[in-house]
Structures are given as structure tokens and as C-alpha cells.
């Protein structure tokens, strides 16, 4: 365990040194913002055509709906134009999310992990500002507690009672990004 921890720290240190010479952008998804889901994305250029994007988001209430969730979505992007953060890209994203929401008189409380393929286009607005449009489709495995809201007789058990796979469009958005360096 100690050895693994040491390796992770060492890799992080090396990564930090390499980041100094690379391009870093921070961004926010305006669609999620419109849904009152705070989110923050960061993208790091790692090659002539490659970048790594990581997005984190969380919510407590969305338009007075009890939707609580926290998620992380790292993504590898391949820029087909030949320049990172410019024009078309294809990405490979993974996602992990913990949620507890009430929707249509049903309660969903659980975790989901998934992976999918992203397609997107980045418009270069200026040397520091970009506008990205993207969407992705992927398979998600969920493991959750599921119940009806009006089920007052039976207390929601702590045990997960629903799991399975589902193919969903798990990412769809428009984000503004600011290139720090």
C-alpha cells in the first residue's frame, strides 16, 4: 500500500513538472450552469493532437427538485485537426457519479460508472477563449436504491435494490473555456 502511494506521488510530481510547458484551460459547461449544476472542467494538452479533460460537477437542487449528485468525468481527447483545442475532436470519457434524486415520484439513490465516446467541435474565439460543443454516448452501469416517493409504509431499505446497464447520452454540453497558458 505504501509502495503504491509512493508511486502515485512520484507520478504526480513528474506530471507537475511537465505541466509547466503545456497548455492548460479551465472551462465551464453553460448548459449545466443553466440547470444550476455547478461544474468545473480543466483541460491539459498532452501531445500534438492529444489532451486530457477532467470535469467535476455537483448539485443539490435543480429548480427546486431534489436532485443531489456529485460526479467526475475524465476524458481523453484526440484532436483531428492536428492542433489541440481547435476544431473537431473525438474523445473517450469515463464517468463516475453518486446521486440521490427524486424524479417523477420516484427516488433514485446510488452510484453509476460508465464509459463513452465523445464528439465535439471547438470554436477558437480568441487566443484565450474557446467555445466547445460536444455530446457523448456511452454505457453506464448503475447500482442504486429505487423506490416510490408515496411508499410510506415501507421504509426505504439501505440495501441497493436496482442495478443494470444502460446506454445513454451521458454528456451533452456547450462550454466556454479560458486558456490560462
Amino acid at each position: 500500500m505504501k509502495r503504491s502511494l509512493f508511486l502515485v506521488i512520484a507520478m504526480l510530481c513528474l506530471g507537475t513538472t511537465a505541466v509547466q510547458a503545456q497548455l492548460l484551460a479551465v472551462k465551464t459547461d453553460v448548459l449545466m450552469d443553466a440547470l444550476m449544476v455547478p461544474n468545473l472542467n480543466a483541460e491539459l494538452v498532452v501531445g500534438e493532437r492529444s489532451s486530457i479533460n477532467a470535469s467535476a460537477f455537483c448539485s443539490k437542487k435543480i429548480y427546486n427538485k431534489d436532485i443531489r449528485m456529485v460526479g467526475l468525468m475524465p476524458e481523453y481527447r484526440f484532436w483531428m485537426s492536428g492542433r489541440p483545442m481547435s476544431r473537431e475532436f473525438i474523445g473517450l470519457a469515463v464517468m463516475g457519479v453518486r446521486y440521490n434524486l427524486t424524479w417523477d415520484k420516484k427516488i433514485y439513490n446510488g452510484n453509476a460508472i460508465g464509459a463513452g465516446v465523445t464528439f465535439g467541435y471547438s470554436f477558437n474565439l480568441s487566443s484565450h477563449w474557446d467555445l466547445e460543443c460536444y455530446g457523448s454516448v456511452g454505457a453506464v452501469y448503475y447500482d442504486q436504491k429505487y423506490d416510490r416517493v408515496d411508499n410510506k409504509e415501507e421504509k426505504l431499505s439501505n440495501r441497493h435494490n436496482s442495478y443494470g446497464y444502460s446506454v445513454i447520452p451521458f454528456k451533452l454540453g456547450i462550454s466556454f473555456s479560458y486558456i490560462i497558458k
Partner: protein
């Protein structure tokens, strides 16, 4: 009989009138309308442009049609009319003349008579082939038209506009243009000029997003033009560059290789000729004179310094046999000794001389016992030594002495030289048989030739040799130095070298350019080897080079510095008398002006112009400065330079105006050239050549007819001097069409086919 004559006369009159009628009426043109019918279609709609040629007689039309069918050549002197698409053509033609009609799809030319008709209808059988309308869509691969560069001496200035076509332009692309200068005759690449880079907006923006991208390491960034590539029609890049150090007399062209690249690949590449071999040389007739100043040799005179001189010699003193005493019977003994004494006394008593070393060698003959001879040789040497040392001022410490006994081999050599070979051989045989000197003498003394021959030689060996070196601290006079140069083989061949101050005297006196060049080169080499090149030698060498049209700008460059004022003098340490000698002169006017002359001769007007800033501000130097600025192309931007040079002579005025190459100045140039007050000799080839250039620019259409009839300036010019023909062939001031047309005219003229008086219309 009488009636017969009258009939004949009437007949002749009748025939003559008929002929005259034809001629008289033939010359009067009438407007004739010709309708051209398409025989196969039955209408007058033409599918291609046709040409109608009008001739004075039908027979001329017939001949022209046959010539056209055979060779495809159209008549040069017939009037040509284009026919509109509706097939109707109105033209002025003699009513008894003929016509010829040609067209691309006509198998044969049509010819016919006008026959006095004012309206003609002609059916053309060859026009039966109708073509369907085909729309061809092609992407234009426009290339810029080559634009002649401008030669200013050894510099080629060129410019052109490269149009970026919308089909290749992209916001995320980069265009790179690389000019390559090629020598025209050999095809060698002379230079690859700096590139011109045009980035699309996105390309420029996203370059910085590349992994580890550092703009300072991008070699093309420095050459990026200040505008971005746009996809609109009509965007162009102005390319303007110059190349120096070209060889005079050689022509150069500039090709441009270019490519469009996006983020990942080059998606289009091509090349085009930007500058043709024929460049403009607008100032070739400019009248100017660049002279160098005379150097003041006193500024560079070297002070004489003490020099060692060696003087070898020998004394043939005869001594009394067996004694170290001079033979009183031989008066030459005393004469020789006294001469040497007085020679040495003269050096020792002079204020600027001293004897540095005196070497003396005494020698005795080998006859008698060797030990005695050895002692005798020493004594005789000491005798001479004491005689020399007794001279007042002679320092014994500077004298070396040596004595020896001559060997029998020397005797044998002397015998052999006196043709006494047998005796010499006998002596040598004895020398070989024994090495004992006494034994050698005893046996030689017994030889039959000893008394008669050998004894005569022995006194010659009783002698004293000497050599002395002396130093004089006085300058040789210029006449002495010149005499040494003229008479001393060693000095002429370079075996012995003059001192620098002696070279200075020779520069003043030697007038032959070849001799002066040799001396200047030697002096320059000597001074350079001493680590301090001598400006006076470099100046004379440069002048000698200039006299034979050779240039070496490295000679004078060490004495010119741009960070110093004209005639900058560096002074040495203060002398006891309070004066400070000039140690070095930088930017001497004579040297700078000579360097300018060299630069001008090499055609390097740019550097020549730069050097004029190191000349003292005088009216003359200002004039030179303006002329060199003009020769470097400064007349294009500076009205002041233009006006000044134009005011210096009528020819310069015409040259400057014609060099400007625009309509207003062309008109002004033509006005000046036509002025008979300024140019009384209007047939001067230079005037005609300039007129040809200026008038040629206003021609909308040029062919051999125009150049042989309407615009004959160049023809007249080349007739007078053929060098102008060679000049015109490579002159970018004439368009390519002009040059091609004139080539034909000149060929016709040389073949005697061009006789302007025979041309009729």
C-alpha cells in the same frame, strides 16, 4: 498607213485607260458590307470569330490565300477586320479589290473578288460544323506575371504581387513563399532569399496551443507578413526583396516556390517565375564621374631606422717568407691596408655609423712544416688584426679572429684551374696516399712541377680575409634608393627587401604602373607581416588595381571605420619637444574616396553610398553622395535626389524621368528627348534607345509591323550600333512581346527583307 497608225494609237489609248481606271479607282476605298453565311446552317450566326483581309487586287487575295493554306501565315500588310458574331462586317475596300477570309475551323482560306459590289454575301462551306455549347469549369491556377527586376550595379531589386486564390486559402492554413535566385546562363542557384509567410487567423492563433510550442524557436515567425490569409477574392501578398553582390554582366531570375499547409499536411505546392532574366537597368545611361583624392604621402612617411649592412672583402697581403711581416717590395700591400683603414675610419668617424662586427681570417701556405705554418698563419692574422684594431674608435670586443693553414687540396684546385691537370692529379694522389701534412709536403716538394708550377701558386694562399658589418643611422636619399631599385638585382627580384621608408621614396619616384604595383604589393606584404598594414602601400596598390580595372575592397577596409569621423587622427605619446606625432589616420579622405571608386566599379552602390558619410562635408562630396544615392535606387523615393540628378545634364534628366516608369514621367522624358535644343543630334543611339523604351510603354499592341513602321526608334538605334540590339534583348524595360517582335524585325532587317520603301497599304 496613216489610218493604221491612228487605229493603233486609239487601241493603245483604250487599253491604257482601262489600266489607269483600275489603278485610279483601285486606290479609292468604298465602304463594303460583307455578309457571311454559314452554308450548312443557312444563317449568319457564326460560331467562331473570323478574319476578313482586304487586298487591292483579287490576285493578291489569291496569293495570300494560297500562302495561308500552305504555311498558315497571314498577310502582314493587308488590312484585317474582325467579324462580329452576327456575321456582318463593314469595311473600307477598293471596289475592284479582293478579300480573303480565314477562320479556325475553316479547312481552307476563302478568297474572292469584290467586283464593284457595295454589298457582298459569302457562303462559307467550312463553317458547317457546329459545336454544342460546353461549359467548362476549371479552377484557375493563376500565377503572377513575371515582373522584371531592377539592377542597380551589383544589386537586383525585385517585387511582385502574389495573389492568394480563395480555393486554396483557409483560416487554419499557412502560406510559405520562398524566392530562389538563379543565374540565367548556367542555371546555378545563387541564393535562397528569406521566405514570406502568411498565416490564416486560426493558424496563427492555434500555433500557440501546440504542445511545448515556443514562438521564439519558430524560424518562420520572423518572416510572417503583417496580415492574415483571407478567403476573399483578390487578396495578395506583396513580395519585395533585393540581392547584392551579383556579378556584373550576368543575368539572374527569381523563381518562387510556394506551398499551402494546414495543421497536418501540405495540401498544395507549386512554383512560378517571379522575376525574368531580363531585368531593367534604368540608370545605365546616367552620366557621372567618381574620382579619388590624391593621398598625402607625408602623412604616412616612415622614419628611417638604423639598419645593419654587411661588407665582405679580402686582403691579398704578401708577407716575407717565413715571417709575419709585409713584403716591403710589394706596394699593393700598403695600398690595400690603407684603403680598408680609411673605409672603416669613415664609418667610425661618421655621426650616424658604427662598425658592429669585424671578422678576420689569416691564412698561410702549406709549404714547410705544418706546425710552423700554423704559427705563421696566426702571426700574420695578428699582424692584420693589430693594424685594424689600431684605427681610432675600433672596438676590439667586436672583432673576431681566426687563422688556418691552406691545405694541399686548395693547391691542387688552383693547378687544375690553371689547366695544369697532370700536376694537380699528382698532388691529389699524394693527398690520398697519406694524411700526414708534413709527409704530404715532403713528397709534393719532390714533384717535377713543384719548382715551376706549384711555387707560383703558394703566394696566393698567403692572405688575410675579412668581413665586417656596420650600422648606419641615416636615411638613404631617394636617389640612392631609386638607384638600388634600378641596379641591384637582389632588390628587384625581392631577394632583399627595402625598408618601409625606402618604399615610400620609391612610390614618389617610380612612374611605371607595373613597377609601382610590384613595389606597392611588396611594401603592403612587408607591413602586413609586421602586423601593421601600411595605408600608403595599400593606397598605391589600390590605385594600381583601379588603373587596370581590378578591384579589391579588402585592401583599404582596415583603414576605414564607420564609428570614426572623417580624417580621424590618433596621436602617439608626447615627444620631448612637446609635439605629439600622428600614429594613425582613420578615414583618410584619399583612402575613403579610393574605396568608393572601387565600390562603384564593382557596382556596389549601396556600400559606396554608405562610405560617402565618411567624407568631409564639401560640395563635391555632397554631389557624390546624391549620385550614389540615386544609383542605389534612391531616386524612386526622394524627389530631392531626382531633381538634383536631373538638373546635372539633359541626358541625366531624360534617364531619371524614363527610369521612373510611369505615364507622367514618360511624357516628361519624351518631351526632353524630343527637344532639339537639348539634344541636337536626334540620331544618337542613346537618345533613340531611350525613346524606344519610353514610347514602347505606351503601346497597346506590339508586333513586327509596329516596330518596323510606326515605332522605329529601336530599329534605327540598333542599325547605328549593334551593341544596342544585344542590350535590348536582355532589357526588362521592353516587354516580352516587344522583344519577340523586335527579334523578328531585326532578323528581317539582317536578311534584307525589311525595306520600308516597298511597303504599300
Amino acid at each position: 498607213m496613216m489610218r493604221k497608225k491612228i487605229v493603233w494609237l486609239l487601241l493603245l489609248l483604250f487599253v491604257g485607260m482601262d489600266v489607269c481606271q483600275g489603278q485610279i479607282f483601285g486606290s479609292a476605298d468604298k465602304v463594303v458590307t460583307i455578309k457571311l453565311l454559314n452554308k450548312d446552317e443557312g444563317n449568319t450566326l457564326l460560331l467562331e470569330p473570323l478574319n476578313v483581309f482586304v487586298f487591292n487586287t483579287p490576285s493578291q487575295a489569291y496569293e495570300a490565300a494560297h500562302l495561308y493554306d500552305k504555311t498558315g501565315e497571314t498577310p502582314r500588310f493587308a488590312k484585317n477586320h474582325a467579324v462580329s458574331q452576327d456575321g456582318v462586317c463593314a469595311l473600307a475596300a477598293p471596289l475592284d479589290g479582293g478579300i480573303m477570309i480565314t477562320g479556325l475551323s475553316m479547312e481552307k482560306a476563302y478568297y474572292g473578288r469584290i467586283n464593284g459590289q457595295m454589298e457582298l454575301t459569302v457562303s462559307l462551306p467550312g463553317m458547317g460544323r457546329t459545336l454544342r455549347q460546353v461549359d467548362v469549369t476549371a479552377k484557375a491556377k493563376l500565377r503572377p506575371r513575371p515582373k522584371p527586376g531592377k539592377r542597380f550595379g551589383n544589386k537586383l531589386k525585385f517585387e511582385n504581387d502574389f495573389q492568394i486564390l480563395p480555393q486554396y486559402a483557409k483560416a487554419n492554413a499557412r502560406l510559405v513563399l520562398v524566392p530562389i535566385v538563379v543565374e540565367c546562363q548556367e542555371g546555378d542557384t545563387v541564393a535562397v532569399q528569406h521566405p514570406w509567410v502568411v498565416d490564416g487567423t486560426l493558424f496563427e492563433m492555434t500555433q500557440k496551443r501546440r504542445m511545448g510550442y515556443d514562438e521564439s524557436h519558430d524560424p518562420l515567425i520572423a518572416y510572417r507578413v503583417d496580415k492574415n490569409m483571407e478567403t476573399r477574392q483578390g487578396m495578395s501578398v506583396h513580395i519585395e526583396d533585393s540581392l547584392t553582390n551579383l556579378v556584373a554582366g550576368k543575368s539572374y531570375r527569381c523563381d518562387i516556390k510556394y506551398w499551402y499547409e494546414d495543421y497536418g499536411r501540405v495540401y498544395f505546392r507549386d512554383s512560378f517565375n517571379c522575376v525574368p532574366c531580363e531585368s531593367r537597368n534604368p540608370l545605365r545611361f546616367l552620366e557621372y564621374k567618381v574620382d579619388s583624392k590624391e593621398i598625402n604621402p607625408e602623412d604616412y612617411r616612415k622614419l628611417p631606422r638604423p639598419e645593419l649592412h654587411s661588407q665582405p672583402g679580402s686582403l691579398s697581403l704578401t708577407f716575407v717568407v717565413g715571417k709575419a711581416v709585409l713584403d716591403p717590395a710589394d706596394s699593393t700591400n700598403f695600398t690595400q691596408l690603407n684603403d680598408l683603414k680609411s673605409e672603416l675610419s669613415a664609418i667610425l668617424n661618421s655621426t650616424d655609423g658604427t662598425v658592429q662586427q669585424f671578422d678576420i681570417l689569416g691564412q698561410s701556405s702549406p709549404d714547410g712544416r705544418y706546425a710552423v705554418n700554423e704559427r705563421l698563419g696566426y702571426d700574420r692574422m695578428m699582424f692584420a688584426f693589430n693594424e685594424i684594431a689600431s684605427i681610432p674608435g675600433m672596438d676590439r670586443r667586436n672583432m673576431t679572429k681566426e687563422s688556418r693553414v691552406a691545405d694541399w687540396e686548395q693547391v691542387a684546385d688552383s693547378l687544375f684551374a690553371d689547366s695544369l691537370k697532370e700536376c694537380a692529379e699528382q698532388v691529389r694522389a699524394i693527398i690520398r696516399s697519406t694524411s700526414n701534412k708534413d709527409a704530404q709536403f715532403l713528397r709534393i716538394a719532390k714533384l717535377p712541377c713543384y719548382e715551376k708550377e706549384i711555387k707560383k701558386i703558394l703566394p696566393r694562399l698567403r692572405t688575410v680575409y675579412y668581413q665586417y658589418q656596420y650600422e648606419i643611422n641615416r636615411a638613404f636619399s631617394p636617389i640612392e634608393v631609386l638607384e638600388r631599385w634600378q641596379t641591384d638585382k637582389d632588390f628587384r627580384s625581392g631577394k632583399r627587401e627595402f625598408a618601409l621608408y625606402e618604399f615610400g621614396y620609391l612610390f614618389d619616384q617610380v612612374k611605371d604602373p607595373k613597377e609601382l604595383e610590384i613595389l606597392a604589393r611588396r611594401a603592403y606584404r612587408v607591413s602586413k607581416n609586421m602586423g601593421n598594414p601600411w595605408p600608403l602601400a595599400a593606397y598605391h596598390l589600390a590605385q594600381c588595381y583601379l588603373k587596370r580595372d581590378t578591384c579589391d575592397t579588402t585592401l583599404l577596409s582596415p583603414f576605414i571605420r564607420f564609428d570614426r569621423i572623417p580624417n580621424f587622427k590618433r596621436y602617439g605619446a608626447q615627444r620631448p619637444d612637446g609635439t605629439r606625432p600622428v600614429e594613425q589616420i582613420i578615414n583618410d579622405e584619399a583612402i575613403v574616396s579610393t574605396q568608393i571608386v572601387m565600390m562603384v566599379k564593382m557596382g556596389n552602390f549601396e556600400e559606396g553610398y554608405g562610405l560617402t558619410g565618411l567624407l568631409p562635408k564639401t560640395e563635391e562630396s555632397e554631389k557624390l553622395r546624391k549620385f550614389l544615392d540615386c544609383l542605389n535606387g534612391g531616386y524612386e523615393d526622394s524627389e530631392q535626389i531626382r531633381n538634383y540628378v536631373a538638373s546635372t545634364s539633359p541626358m541625366n534628366c531624360a534617364v531619371i524621368y524614363s527610369a521612373m516608369n510611369n505615364r507622367m514621367f514618360d511624357e516628361m522624358a519624351m518631351e526632353v528627348l524630343d527637344d532639339t535644343m537639348l539634344f541636337p543630334n536626334q540620331n544618337d543611339p542613346k537618345i533613340l534607345y531611350l525613346k524606344a523604351i519610353v514610347s514602347g510603354r505606351s503601346l497597346d499592341f506590339v508586333d513586327e509591323y509596329v516596330l518596323s513602321e510606326d515605332n522605329t526608334y529601336l530599329l534605327e538605334c540598333c542599325k547605328q550600333d549593334e551593341k544596342y540590339y544585344r542590350m535590348a534583348r536582355n532589357d526588362g524595360d521592353f516587354t516580352e512581346d516587344y522583344r519577340k517582335a523586335f527579334e523578328k524585325v531585326w532578323k528581317m532587317y539582317k536578311n534584307g527583307e525589311l525595306n520600308l520603301n516597298d511597303i504599300k497599304f
